[in-house]
């Protein structure tokens, strides 16, 4: 399995939407074939359209507020006494996470498709928040599908979604988390695809949704490359880019400019949700060697039982609590380009604690998984190693969970 150089990874699929002949695809009901074809044509038309890109770049710069900061975590580096640790502060984005990039592209496409309504799924609530925020700006009606369990545990983001005038549709089926929210959102689209544009909140789903999301989050990597070159004068010889992986939208966006580098120069490390340390449940299909399964229109490594039912997952971070993963990350894993591991709930919490004690940043529980890996490996490396962690979300949404687990939350 080889990755081609000079071609964005999202475009390295065959005519049926498969990466490496087996990941991804379009496993959808017949009713959705045409809306997906229409969306594909629309996206292919506009992704290279100068006016479209100009409008998008303006929005990224002036609305989202890019570039987001690239900062050194000096205290954390000193404390761990090994590699130099940096953070890419994607949580600086308007709304507090990377989900705004994808939301903007979808809202722009929705407008061009002449549709007045947009729907999406959400786990941690950030995707729903960004879609609602952008929908308000673009004058679109917005429905956000969210598992009932996530509604309970991510209240601050739910409040924001409602404040932006969007409707939250609670999903009570199955485990009442992200997996069920995505299913319900797709079902809603099946019934309303003539009037409603759907945006999937991560690098998952039928091929076109993987592409639109990747095209959007690539912004992170473009900024990062410039910032790294400014800081070091070149791309360092021992660079490690660590990102949490649920669906994998921020990880792909964080890595896309660096995929063509040799892995002994730029190592890509994805950190999945290992779940509670005392539980067998997790949301780590890549690092716990799940088999390939088909979920939400795409073939990918997926937490499932021997009969093909999707297994229950468990994670302290709603945003990573998803049984499957992007076909793009399956490709990166099988090609050996990225390394995937996991952090447990406890490790993520401890990482959050340490990072917030030492630094003026406050990552949410999703990037806390990535910090946990950085904390694990940094002491074993010398100072010529540069670790960059994507701090892709802000912790404010997790304040209740953190208060409960650690006794207090302050920022």
């Amino acid at each position: 399995m080889k990755i081609k150089k000079g071609i964005p990874l999202i475009d390295q699929h065959d005519k049926n939407g498969f990466y490496a002949g087996k990941f991804g695809g379009n496993f959808v009901a017949e009713t959705l074939k045409k809306p997906i074809d229409d969306l594909t044509k629309l996206f292919e038309k506009y992704r290279k359209d100068k006016n479209f890109l100009k409008e998008r770049d303006d929005l990224y710069e002036n609305y989202i507020g890019t570039p987001t900061r690239f900062i050194k975590l000096q205290n954390l580096s000193d404390h761990l006494g090994g590699a130099q640790i940096y953070a890419k502060m994607v949580s600086d984005c308007k709304g507090g996470a990377h989900k705004c990039y994808n939301a903007i592209t979808h809202a722009m496409l929705c407008k061009r498709a002449k549709k007045k309504y947009i729907c999406t799924d959400t786990g941690a609530g950030y995707n729903g928040k960004m879609f609602s925020m952008v929908a308000k700006k673009f004058g679109l009606g917005c429905k956000v599908f969210m598992g009932a369990r996530d509604i309970e545990r991510q209240k601050p983001n739910c409040d924001a979604i409602k404040k932006n005038g969007a409707e939250i549709i609670p999903v009570n089926s199955g485990s009442k988390t992200l997996v069920d929210a995505v299913s319900e959102c797709i079902r809603y689209w099946v019934a309303n695809c003539d009037k409603v544009h759907m945006g999937i909140g991560s690098l998952v789903g039928p091929n076109i949704f993987v592409k639109i999301c990747g095209f959007s989050t690539e912004q992170i990597s473009r900024e990062l490359k410039i910032q790294i070159e400014e800081e070091f004068g070149e791309i360092p010889n021992k660079l490690k880019l660590i990102n949490c992986v649920g669906g994998g939208s921020s990880a792909y966006g964080f890595w896309s400019e660096f995929i063509d580098y040799k892995k002994n120069q730029v190592e890509l490390i994805g950190v999945e949700a290992g779940g509670p340390s005392k539980s067998k449940l997790h949301a780590a299909p890549l690092s716990k060697n799940s088999k390939i399964g088909i979920l939400h229109g795409a073939a990918a490594y997926c937490v499932q039982n021997s009969d093909g039912q999707i297994n229950k997952t468990e994670s302290i971070s709603s945003g990573l609590d998803y049984p499957s993963v992007s076909p793009i990350h399956c490709l990166l894993k099988d090609a050996g380009r990225a390394r995937y591991t996991y952090a447990t709930d406890e490790e993520a919490l401890q990482a959050f604690k340490l990072v917030t004690e030492l630094e003026e940043i406050s990552p949410s529980l999703e990037p806390a998984h990535a910090f946990a890996e950085a904390i694990k490996i940094a002491p074993k490396l010398d100072s010529s190693n540069i670790i960059v962690v994507d701090s892709c979300g802000d912790s404010i949404k997790d304040k209740d969970i953190i208060k409960k687990k650690l006794g207090n939350y302050s920022r």
Binding site: F27, E30, T31, K33, R187, C193, G297, Q304
Partner: protein
């Protein structure tokens, strides 16, 4: 040799009525009960669709989701589904049986193994909701080789050009989805319009047995009786839910419901 499915349509045509197709979920609400239901409704139905439950369905409405949930809660496995079909096909009044479900289940089981097992237990047809044309070409061939009718779906969003290709690659039955909806939605399109679309399919190839499904109930079934066949699914799943709620026997309830549906189109 004509397939059992084809013969069933032929018989109905002779009787000058559409075929009545039912959909229930294997294992709803128990393995034994679902088999009893199949046997009982065979008195009035012409072809029986049997769902194999998946816990992340992307095209099912709430009624079928409830049925699947009940079946899964009782631990239904694919091997049980096959056993139910096997036992059903041994019964004296057995009708053609079509298994319906999501590709993930087939993929995990192994395509070849799945189709072989279907043939072994007497499955006559397969509907895989999320394996559309052209991705289904290989699987469709595999079915044909094993004398199983692979039923393709057509929807109001299917373009004429695509319709032609699907019909050209289809076996002896097609399934037209009446409207943009998950299963069991309220019929939001007029029967006239549904039949207009249905006729488009028949004009391309009138020899294909084409059934209409989604949103068909006791109230709406008569208005669509010009079709080759009509599928009732969610209404029956709801029937099971209702009878369980009222502590009635779902077998008796479903028998009555299917009898009434049949009377509407006879």
């Amino acid at each position: 040799m004509k397939s059992e499915i084809n013969l069933a349509f032929q018989k109905c045509r002779k009787e000058n009525r559409p075929a009545l197709l039912t959909y229930t979920v294997a294992g709803d609400n128990t393995k034994k009960r679902s088999l009893e239901i199949l046997k009982s409704i065979s008195e009035y139905a012409d072809i029986l669709e049997l769902g194999f439950a998946h816990n992340a369905p992307t095209a099912d409405g709430p009624q079928i989701q409830n049925s699947s949930y009940r079946a899964l809660k009782k631990g239904i496995k694919l091997k049980d589904v096959f056993q139910i079909v096997k036992n059903y096909k041994k019964s004296k009044n057995a009708k053609p049986c079509i298994l319906m479900g999501y590709y993930q289940m087939v993929y995990r089981y192994g395509e070849k193994k799945f189709v072989k097992k279907c043939k072994q237990v007497g499955v006559n047809g397969l509907i895989i909701v999320d394996l559309p044309f052209p991705d289904n070409k290989e699987f469709s061939k595999l079915c044909k080789k094993n004398s199983i009718t692979f039923v393709q779906l057509l929807s109001p969003t299917t373009s004429k050009e695509r319709m032609k290709k699907i019909i050209a690659s289809s076996h002896d039955m097609l399934y037209y989805i009446s409207m943009l909806s998950t299963t069991g939605g309220k019929l939001k399109v007029s029967p006239k319009k549904i039949l207009k679309n249905y006729n488009k399919i028949k004009r391309i190839n009138k020899s294909k047995n084409t059934v209409i499904g989604f949103g068909i109930t006791n109230k709406t079934i008569a208005s669509l009786k010009k079709a080759d066949g009509l599928v009732v699914g969610s209404a029956l799943c709801k029937g099971i839910s209702d009878s369980l709620e009222n502590r009635q026997n779902p077998v008796i309830k479903l028998n009555k419901m299917v009898k009434s549906l049949r009377n509407k189109i006879k």
